[in-house]
Amino acid sequence: MTIRVYALSTCPYCRMARKYLDDNDVEYDVVEVDLLDGDERAAAIAEVKDISGGTSFPVMLFDDEIVVGFNKKRMMELLSL
């Protein structure tokens, strides 16, 4: 499974979600959107809006499944934990 996490460095729920993945030894790519500048930042925001329909964080892709926010129950289901 390919997992990508769009996160903000300032966001408590992003930290919780990443900690949950780390604690369960799950590998993932992370894009810290607020640490990007210029075109990279604009592109990342556009991706987040396209994927989730908003600008809430974290936004996580588990292959094609989308999880917005620290939804532990849904993460457990998708990771079969």
């Binding site: 903000l8 300032t10 966001c11 408590p12 959107v33 925001i45």
Partner: protein, 224 residues
């Protein structure tokens, strides 16, 4: 100046602003909207510490869970507390997006941390819109919840809500004169009965909405 900094900087929060300063500043007016700081004090401190980082970087206390897009209008809607912009959604999930603020009637804010499933679009949601003590007898007050503007009116100890928009020329009814149960539009004097929104002009009634009084707050039922 980058697009990120297009909004004016908050002079209110000077260098050296602390977490306690933010609590002291925000809590009173969040209370007017029916919210209080989360009962999970460590979580509150974590969120506000993030807001202080954002303040130092951008000049304002943006929500740490939402991204600044550089669009001044979008960014204004995530300045903490962002409750006024999301009254119906927050009433439905009983907290703000990040959970820094919880609805005043929630006893354990810890149970709301993480994701709360919102009711489906169009669901009816009870929304706290005003403290009883903020509306004296004989007074009116404008509130906005979702996309609707309401004129609240208090007659004695009875509370009413009608549309804030006069059907004649779209005048702001809450700025009008309340005499008994009649509210006169401030622009041309069209008169509406706050009990049911009726007027003496043909086909010119405005919508009236039931008001519930609970634990010192006025609640309206709004569509999500």
């Amino acid at each position: 100046m980058s697009a990120d900094h297009a909004r004016p900087r908050r002079r209110l929060f000077a260098e050296g602003t602390t977490i306690e300063d933010l609590k002291t500043y925000m809590a009173p007016f969040a209370a007017t909207l029916g919210y209080k700081l989360n009962t999970e004090s460590e979580f509150v401190d974590e969120v506000l510490a993030s807001e202080l980082e954002i303040l130092a970087d951008t000049g304002d206390v943006y929500c740490p869970c939402r991204v600044r897009t550089g669009d001044p209008k979008e960014d204004a809607m995530i300045v903490c507390p962002c409750i006024p912009f999301h009254m119906v959604q927050f009433a439905a999930i009983r907290k703000c997006w990040c959970g820094l603020f919880i609805r005043y009637d929630v006893e354990d804010g810890g149970e709301l941390l993480g994701v709360i499933d919102e009711p489906e679009l169009g669901a009816q949601v009870e929304v706290p819109v005003c403290r009883v003590n903020d509306l004296a007898p004989g007074q009116t007050k404008h509130v906005k919840a979702g996309k609707t503007d309401y004129a609240l009116a208090r007659v004695g100890d009875e509370f009413y809500a009608i549309s804030n928009v006069c059907v004649h020329a779209f005048g702001p009814l809450a700025d009008g004169v309340l005499e008994g149960h009649e509210l006169a539009c401030p622009w041309h004097g069209w008169r509406y009965d706050v009990r049911d929104g009726t007027t003496n002009h043909p086909d010119a009634d405005v919508a009236a909405y039931p008001v519930t009084v609970r634990h010192g707050y006025l609640w309206l039922t709004c569509a999500l």
